[in-house]
Amino acid sequence: MKKYSIIYIISLLTFASSCKKFVEIGAPATSVSAENVFNNDINATSAVSYIYYDLMANNFSVAQSSNSIGALSAIAADELKTYTTGIYQLLIYRNQLLKDNTAVSNLWASAYKNIYRANTVLEGVAASAGISSATRNQLNGEAKFLRAFFYSYLVNLYGKVPLVLSSDYKQNATAARAAVADVYRQIVADLKEAQGLLTDGYLSGANTTTTSRIRPNKAAATALLARVYLYLGDWANAEAQASTIINAGPTYILEPSLTNVFKTTSKEAIWQLQPAATVPYTLDGVFYILTTTPTSGFFDRSNVLSTDLFNAFEAADNRKAAWVGSITVGANTYYFPGKYKSTTTATSLTENLMVLRLAEQFLIRAEARAMQGKLTGAGSAVEDVNAIRLRAGLGVTTLTAPVDIMTAIEKERRIELFTEWGHRWFDLKRMKSFTNASLTRADEVMPAAAAAKGGAWAAYCALWPIPLTEMASDPNLDQNSGYN
């Protein structure tokens, strides 16, 4: 029995080796620890790139497809008629939205998730010593730009929103809503900083220079800043920022051919998002292009241009042919947004998802100039409107009256930018009536538009509700009026 005893003496004593070391484990092999993300340029860049990837690869992306700012705003406004029976989309469409609308809460959550990612990049880069100064500036610039970008949509969709500027959940979990002015102050500050940090060139995901305009640069920050000033009514600054890009020379020109505007090679693009990984098409293409009658069960492929928008195109407008798709089934012809042509049948990548483009800068400047009284002649609103009209194959406008010129600008915005990133919805809400300063354009347009959609309009509908789930988990949030 001697041999057993030895085994036992040893095992008996082994229990004294109970030790701290035994229960220490490293990061799992399948993940990367936070230190290893922010100790080199390429991994740190990957952390920012995830935001673009998420926007392009996620079904619940705010950028494209069924839960996007573009599509949901388009049905809320007067751009699309939907055939969907999806209750949440239907309620948005009829401007009868309730506070438990999951489409609205998904959009909110996606935007804040990306703000969180941007904040962790800012914190990770700040704490890191292993990143080159060029990449440091670039990533800080992109993160600030992105944060401003998402807040600019949140504040327009929801009004007052919580201003989350760090990744610390302890502070953020009980954040209250910040005043709209404070949110804008932060947006302007972030964009100005981004302008200082970013450069004029474009970078690939691997930080090499590229002609693809798939990561934001200084011009992207400037373009967004121009829009923000316009929304704030700071006409002089809006004009100045837009001019910086319009006057930048051959880098940015209005694509002479309308069919090239949304291509990967577009010279009009200031910032585009590249379809993620190997997918050679945008989800907006898949979402809008009809191959048969609009579907009723899903929100995908269930939308056509509203009669009102379709009729707004002038007969000679080349944009109708270039950007509006159609399909005839039996006796019915359906017209749908056709800016993106590629769908699941695409074999190679030809289109990127447009986010910021030069045409909008012309229209921003036109409006800013008009509001400053620069109506006609050199350096005027009409000059900028005509730049857009000429490219669309239309004649120059000869209007002179301020109301007419403003009406023309609004119409050009509507036709040029339809179903892109909620422009129409935001324009209706922010623009004052051209004849009665106490009303907004939404007050004038939406009652009839909502009725046409089978719903009814009330002023509170201009803002979407703070999601019910957010109210339930953050006791300091309050609701927009009309939703209680």
Binding site: A29, A173, A276, F298, A472, P475
Partner: protein, 1133 residues
């Protein structure tokens, strides 16, 4: 503390000393104290030669000097040192042997050197008078036969010679033979079901003994507490046991199913009636407020150990991403017939020795072991059928049409005409379908076979078994769940009885291709007016006018899932008695669970023409879970003062590695290619690798005075890798005490009817680390999204923060208090036990819901909440009638659980503000104050927080003012056993008093809890609904479209906030009936058999309940546990 300090060098042949030194400083483990007084172990190293000069010093001091020079360690009992003489010694480079001889020369001690350990023991002194006694009479051989009161042979009864190790067991004929024993010896005859009897041989060589069958199990039953066993009568803890007999009389494939209703305080719910499905197990309530979410671990699951090895109890297929994939229980790979007993440890006394792992209680499964004697071959074959035991009462065709016409009428102007009334316009309204019959009304087949072999000698015993089980489903498919099990167990005892080894290996292989699609939802909700599901040519039919809107449930079955699970458990327990009453033991075990699941979605799954949703796919998931553990232990027993003390000290090392990899391949060009992911144009892959390490020191100290006063102390220091640096270790412990007052003289004299009486109490603290791994660590992961394979952007990879990490995570603690009274009356014909318990869980690890503005929907943290579970458990066993031929006995258990959120700091400002209420159970649902259905309009009306009836649209969450507690009020079971000669009948009733959803929301309410749509509804709902002006009811008018629906019930009223959705879902179920007949011995023996039994068994026979859905137990849209009726034959050769 010598153990701690002196073992260091031994552990360090070439390891890193710095780390270990630090480590040892950390180990201030109080349990070491338990043994330090009685035992000292010392060691040091490096030389074989001793140079020493001492004068008149205690022997211990010399030992220390020797071990410091040589590395030899001494093992001895402190007590031995009391009688030793001081030693004087002067040696120079002398061998250890010589030095030891000098030291021990005049001591009352001797020693044995075992490698580098010197075991010191008392010198066996042969007393002169004993030595001089005349030689003992020559040993004799004794044979005999043991029979019970009925004269039937008592097989398997142990016959041992008192005071020696000699023992044997009777064979099937009750015969035994003992050779070479003292002619004056006393034989002790004992067995699990008989009363122990002692008889003197007095020179006889043959003797016949009649034994009495035991009336109650209370006194003799030995309960397993994992690290140690003890007599149930002397136990200080709360333990429930289910024995092999109870398990085997139930035709169930999963051992957990055999526990339903059997043990007080244990709540087991089968999640689905599909073979192989997982179970929810709760021991004494829900302790943790976090649910079983993916990143939170299985917060409320008990620890399951099979022969001491932690067994994976969470579903094998946790990491699947596909839809509709059911959770599979890994325990399904264990054959219930291989199980000897299942012990459920409930209170702190029983569980604290498991430390953190014992927080939610423990389920100990002990497998069968071989018995010495003639080799036995056992065969058990059974076969049966299964089906749905209870159909839900839903509308038939005419009733449905009446409801629909009413709903359309209520709508007034039709909304989206054509969309919400197509059932009336476009379906054939004269043909009706009974979907429950079509989709879930089939007959499942059940076939089971087991063969086993056991036998051996006293020193070498073995058992081997082989089992096969096949079950099919009630769905219209031929899919089956098949399982093969093998078990091998071998027990060895050395000839001197000092060394014991128990080796066990079990292997279960399960192949389950049951559909992952549960058709219950459709069986309940598809309108009885529909379209046929198949064309004449056998292809699937769809509803053309609305592509994509209607489901064809049969087509859903073409999505196949093939799950293969194999579970291997191997373990060995090696024990050695170093010196008398000092035993060292080591358990080494390994458990491996492998799962491979392949889910294929062919084109037939989809409706043709719904382009975009049409994706052929192959989802292959492989997971393997490897756990090894090692538990060295040392135990010691001795008489101390008026009582006996036993001590146990041990350590646990456990590592669990979970690896999973999955491949999702999709967009195959045709159905023939989907078997191989390589054929797919688009493939996503992912792996997970989780490491869990756990380490602990534990100890137990038990003091027993005359089997009357018993004190049991247990303690454990635990470390878990699930917490960050500095937070890994926690201390847990418990004290239990019992007073067996029936041993007191006054009871014996004055309360003669009371043959057993015990009061016991225990209090202790256990912990809980059942959270996911790595939650303290910030990591990044390149999650692959549906449209982004591989995850990259602009030519570079992407990285996403995986979680909100919390480096402050620390142990959740569960304080358990238990008080119990156990009585045995009238010679144990009546035994009663009543237990009151209180578990308080604090420092709760919770998945704190966060607003999305934080970037995540939750974070795991220690919350200041205290959750309390209290309860009363009552058990009553009675022998109602007992005659020679007939007996009737009843056993009943009842549990009355109560759950309460005791406190929650700053609840109002926390994200839980609307979820929980202090003073209410965790299951509380705060609901709106329902003001009835307006008799004029049929719409629901509501009161706000102030009590005023307001438009429903204006209600906010804060207007919810009423509470509904959905949960169990009490539950239990009653078993009646009748035997008459060879016939035995068991009838087991399960009962539950509970409040739950009146209907299943997801099944019956398509839109925010309203009805009247193109969906079938329970008949009761239809009958009670408002139909015309003046109707007084609580059930609103039928609605048929979303806008109408929002008018009736605004969407803020999530149906769970509506008090009308809760109802009494209590039920009584005839859970099991088992009838068996054991053929009389003479017949059996003629057939050269030892035993022959035929039986019929039925499970889930009838359920009585007001529940409107299918099964009041799982209250979900899963298939209810099936009614299974089997017949079988069992033969022993």
């Amino acid at each position: 503390m010598h153990l701690k300090a002196l073992c260091k060098p031994l552990l360090l042949p070439n390891a890193n000393r710095g780390i270990l030194t630090k480590t040892l400083l950390i180990m201030k483990f109080t349990a070491i104290l338990l043994l330090a007084a009685a035992l000292q172990v010392s060691a040091k190293s490096y030389s074989q030669q001793i140079t020493l000069s001492v004068k008149d010093v205690p022997l211990e001091q010399v030992f220390k000097a020797i071990q410091s020079q040589t590395g030899y360690s001494f093992v001895y009992n402190n007590r031995l040192m009391k009688g030793t003489k001081n030693v004087s010694l002067q040696v120079d480079k002398t061998s250890i042997e010589e030095v030891l001889q000098i030291c021990f020369k005049s001591q009352p001690l001797t020693y044995t050197v075992i490698d580098k350990t010197i075991v010191v023991k008392p010198r066996e002194v042969i007393k002169p008078d004993e030595a001089a006694v005349a030689p003992a009479p020559p040993p004799i051989d004794v044979s005999g036969k043991i029979v019970n009161e009925k004269g039937e042979p008592a097989a398997g009864v142990s016959v041992s010679v008192k005071g020696t190790n000699k023992a044997t067991a009777t064979d099937a004929g009750g015969n035994f033979l003992l050779s070479g024993i003292d002619s004056k010896a006393v034989l002790v005859i004992s067995g699990a079901n008989i009363e122990t009897l002692e008889t003197s041989i007095n020179g006889r060589t043959t003797l016949d003994v009649t034994v009495r069958q035991k009336l109650s199990e209370l006194t003799e039953v030995v309960v397993n507490k994992g690290y140690y066993t003890e007599s149930k009568a002397l136990s200080t803890g709360s333990i429930g046991t289910v024995t092999a007999k109870t398990i085997q009389q139930q035709p169930v494939s999963n051992p957990l199913a055999a526990l339903v209703g059997r043990i007080a305080g244990l709540d087991v719910t089968q999640q689905s009636g599909v073979a192989g499905a997982n179970f929810t197990i709760r021991i004494r309530g829900t302790n943790s407020v976090r649910g079983n979410l993916a990143n939170s671990g299985n917060a409320n699951d008990p620890l399951v150990l099979v022969d001491g090895i932690p067994f994976l109890s969470s579903p094998t297929n946790v990491n699947t991403t596909g839809n509709g994939i059911r959770s599979l229980s890994p325990l399904n790979a264990l054959d219930p017939s291989d199980i000897q007993s299942i012990e459920v440890l409930k209170d702190a006394d029983a569980t604290a020795i498991y430390g953190s792992r014992g927080s939610n209680g423990i389920i100990l499964i002990t497998t069968k072991r071989g018995r010495a004697g003639k080799t036995q071959f056992n065969m058990n074959l059974s076969s049966g059928i299964g089906g749905i035991a209870r159909k839900a009462d839903v509308l038939n065709g005419p009733e449905y049409l009446a409801m629909r016409h009413q709903a359309i009428k209520n709508a007034g102007t039709p909304y989206n005409a054509g969309i919400y009334d197509f059932d009336l316009n476009q379906f054939d309204t004269t043909t009706f379908y009974d979907w429950q019959k079509i989709l879930i009304g089939g007959t499942a087949r059940y076939n089971n076979a087991q063969l086993s072999l056991s036998g051996g000698t006293e020193n070498n015993r073995f058992t081997a078994s082989l089992g096969y089980l096949k079950q099919t489903s009630v769905y219209p498919t031929s899919a089956a769940d098949q399982r093969v099990n093998t078990q091998l167990a071998f027990d060895h005892t050395s000839s001197d009885k000092r060394f014991k080894a128990n080796l066990t290996m079990t292997m279960g292989v399960e192949n389950n291709n049951m559909p992952t699609e549960d058709l219950v939802d459709w069986a309940l909700t598809l309108p009885p007016v529909y379209f046929p599901l198949k064309n004449d040519n056998g292809s699937y039919k769809w509803f053309a006018p609305f592509p994509g809107l209607f489901v064809n449930p049969l087509a859903r079955l073409t999505r196949t899932s093939d799950s293969k699970t194999s579970v291997l458990t191997a373990n060995g327990v090696f024990g050695y008695d170093i010196i008398e009453s000092l035993t060292v033991k080591t358990l080494v075990g390994y458990n491996r669970t492998d799962y491979t699941g392949v889910t294929l979605v062919p084109s037939t799954y989809y409706e043709p023409g719904t382009v975009g949703t049409f994706i052929r796919s192959n989802n292959t998931l492989n997971t393997n879970n490897n756990t090894w553990n090692m538990e060295p232990q040392i135990s010691y027993t001795r008489i101390l003062g008026p009582g006996s003390i036993s001590a146990l000290l041990g350590a646990t090392f456990q590592q669990t590695v979970q690896n999973a990899y999955g491949i999702y391949a999709y967009n195959f060009s045709n159905d023939n290619l989907i078997g191989n992911p390589a054929n797919a144009p688009l493939v996503q892959a992912g792996t997970t690798n989780l490491v869990y390490k756990y380490n602990a020191l534990f100890g137990r100290l038990n003091y027993n005075i005359a089997d009357k006063y018993i004190l049991n102390l247990t303690a454990r220091r635990d470390g878990s890798s699930r917490f960050g640096p500095g937070k890994q270790f926690g201390n847990f412990g418990a004290a239990g005490a019992a007073w067996i007052f029936s041993e007191e003289k006054f009871v014996k004299q004055h309360l003669r009817f009371l043959n057993f009486g015990k009061l016991r109490a225990s209090y202790g603290v256990t912990g809980n680390d059942q959270i996911g791994d790595y939650n303290y660590l910030t990591t990044y992961y390149a999650t692959s999204l549906p449209y982004g394979t591989p995850p990259s952007y602009g030519g570079n990879g992407v990285l996403n923060p995986e979680r909100l990490a919390n480096p402050d995570l620390a142990w959740e603690t569960n304080k358990k208090l238990d008080l119990a009274l156990e009585l045995g009356l009238f010679k144990n014909r009546v035994s009663v036990s009543a237990t009151w318990f209180r578990n308080r869980t604090s420092n709760q690890l919770v998945n704190y819901p966060l607003p999305a503005i934080t970037g995540f929907s939750s974070i795991l943290l220690n919350s200041p909440a205290v959750v309390q579970n209290t309860g009363i458990e009552l058990e009553l066993s009675t022998v109602n009638i007992k005659t020679t031929a007939f007996s009737w006995s009843t056993s009943t258990n009842l549990t009355i659980p109560r759950n309460k959120l005791v406190s929650f700091d700053n609840l109002a400002s926390s994200p839980y503000a609307t979820a929980y209420v202090v003073g209410q159970p965790l299951t509380v649902q705060t609901v709106f104050d329902f003001a009835g259905v307006d008799p004029k309009t049929g719409a629901n009306t509501w009161r706000n927080a102030a009590g005023t009836i307001v438009p429903a649209k204006t209600l906010t969450l804060t207007d919810r003012a009423k509470y509904v507690n959905a949960g169990k009020e009490f539950y239990g079971g009653i078993n009646n056993n009748f035997t008459w000669k060879g016939l035995s009948l068991d009838i087991f009733l399960q009962f539950v008093k509970q409040v739950g959803r009146s209907t299943n929301v997801s099944a019956f309410q398509p839109f925010i809890g309203t009805w009247g749509w193109i969906v079938n509804e329970p008949t009761k709902l239809y009958e009670r609904s408002w139909k015309q002006s003046g109707d007084i009811t609580n059930y609103h008018a039928f609605v048929s479209d979303p806008l109408q629906s929002t008018a009736v019930t605004p969407s803020v009223i999530n149906s769970s906030y509506d008090p009308n959705y809760y109802a009494d879902n209590s039920f009584i179920r005839i859970k099991n009936i088992a009838l068996s007949y054991t053929l009389p011995q003479p017949w059996v023996q003629k057939a050269r058999m030892q035993n022959l039994r035929i039986y019929m068994q039925a499970q889930n026979l009838f359920t009585f309940s007001n529940y409107m859905g299918l099964d009041p137990e799982n209250q979900s849209t899963s298939l209810p546990p099936l009614r299974i009726i089997t017949a079988g034959i069992q033969a022993t050769f």
